[in-house]
């Protein structure tokens, strides 16, 4: 998978990595059991501190998104969150609040906002469906 770091995003770099792995997992770019890039090659490629990547992977592990197999690296876990429903709702609420605040700044009304949310949900479902299909059909290399 490919990562994109934006130093102007106002979000700590390790959290950007966390978000992108979670996004990749949600959209099927990264499937359960697939490996994440190694810390050193990723650090060299993105030219960021290896501590930053280690911190991101530790965070993903504590969130139950990935698991570390000693000597083998980090792998995406099957999708089962270790958090209780209440905690999950709370976590999601925080993210939604950010989007609500953003929508307010951009003067996007309630209906348009809900419409966008639905559109994005559809988008991810489509991605995941496509991905499942393409994984069933054998891949051709040219």
């Amino acid at each position: 998978m490919l990562f994109q770091i934006d130093f102007k995003a106002g979000k700590p770099v390790y959290l950007q990595l966390v978000d992108q792995v979670r996004y990749a997992a949600a959209s099927g770019v990264l499937r359960p059991g697939e490996p994440l890039p190694g810390i050193r090659p990723l650090a060299e490629e993105l030219r960021i501190n290896r501590n930053t990547i280690a911190k991101a992977y530790a965070e993903l592990e504590s969130q139950g998104v990935i698991e570390t197999l000693p000597g083998k690296g980090c792998f995406l876990k099957a999708n089962n969150s270790p958090f209780t429903k209440v905690v999950r709702d709370k976590l999601l609420e925080k993210e939604i609040d950010e989007a609500v605040v953003m929508a307010h700044h951009l003067r996007i009304g309630r209906d348009a906002f809900i419409e966008t949310v639905n559109e994005r949900l559809d988008h991810f479902e489509r991605l995941a469906a496509n991905d499942e299909q393409s994984s069933k059909t054998p891949r051709r290399t040219q």
Binding site: F7, A9, K11, V13, R40, R47, R50, N51, T52
Partner: protein
């Protein structure tokens, strides 16, 4: 334990050249295992500070500790555990790349041949080439190999990439991240002085901006990026006297304006919104922009 010990500890360092005060009461602490940026304009006192770390200059007042040791009293102990790449590297012109590496290795208790071979290959250096015929970029690459192979606990880089082409610069940084920090990262500290800040942006955990020999700003890089923000705003009609309370800097151009915030972006945004802007965006400053903006910080302080 080593974790708790700082790699570099500078307290109230002062160094004058005649009447000129190059460094004035500078204090900073570099944690072991971190990558520390030392930013400043030409003549800000960066190299003078670094020379005091290496005992190439003596402090006139204040104290300097490197890996817990006094570089003046325990020069050999300090130098055997650190490596230094200056901005202008020089080698004996009659020595080949191979000779130079052997020469440097002879001063070191430990020398990692695998890293040496890897980097020679990676940089495409010919072991039989004489230093006299090497380009500036190749000499810097050779200097980097001599600095990384002993696997020192502290790597001091003084303007390492200035004057190099973009490919050499990129390889340089990748080498510091990859080869240098590949094993035992908790005991691999980087102290890099530079004004090419954007290249090192992702590497820097913490930084100090030095200006006229004084510590202007010391911050964690992520904290700095979340504290310093640029708010771009556009109104339907050009506002008169746009001056949000607490703004670090306001640049207005007709209906549009750019406002720098220092930790109070929320308040400034709330204030701006009272004037019903057509458009309002907020983004973090990069470390380079923070460095440039830090001048305004002294004026506002």
């Amino acid at each position: 334990m080593k974790e708790s010990q700082s790699a570099i500890e500078i307290r109230e360092l002062t160094r004058r050249y005649g009447k000129l005060e190059a460094v004035h009461g500078l204090s900073l602490t570099v944690r072991a295992g971190c990558c520390y940026g030392f930013f400043g304009r030409n003549g800000a006192g960066k190299t003078t500070t670094i020379k005091c770390l290496l005992n190439l200059l003596r402090p006139q007042s204040g104290t300097v500790r490197v890996l817990g040791l006094d570089p003046q009293r325990e020069e050999v102990a300090v130098k055997s555990r650190i490596a230094y790449v200056p901005d202008a590297v020089a080698f004996y012109p009659w020595m080949t790349v191979r000779d130079t590496l052997e020469y440097f290795a002879s001063f070191r208790a430990h020398w990692n041949r695998d890293i040496e071979n890897d980097l020679l290959k990676r940089f495409g250096l010919n072991p039989n080439q004489k230093a006299a015929s090497m380009s500036k970029g190749q000499k810097t690459q050779l200097a980097l190999i001599t600095a990384v192979c002993p696997e020192p606990e502290l790597l001091v880089l003084d303007e390492p990439t200035s004057g190099l082409d973009p490919i050499v610069r990129r390889e340089f940084i990748e080498t510091v991240i990859g080869a240098y920090q590949s094993s035992d990262p908790e005991n691999r500290t980087v102290f890099v002085s530079t004004h090419l800040i954007s290249e090192f942006e992702g590497l820097i955990d913490e930084f100090t901006v030095i200006e006229q020999g004084r510590n202007l700003l010391t911050m964690n890089a992520d904290d700095a990026r979340s504290r310093f923000k640029k708010i771009s705003v556009r109104f339907a009609t050009a506002p008169v006297n746009l001056a949000p309370v607490g703004a670090l800097q306001v640049k207005q151009n007709g209906r549009s304006a750019e406002i720098l915030a220092n930790g109070n972006s929320e308040r400034i945004i709330t204030e701006l919104k009272l004037q019903n802007p057509e458009d309002l965006r907020c983004e973090s400053l990069s470390l380079e922009e923070i460095f440039v903006a830090s001048k305004a910080l002294t004026k506002s302080a």
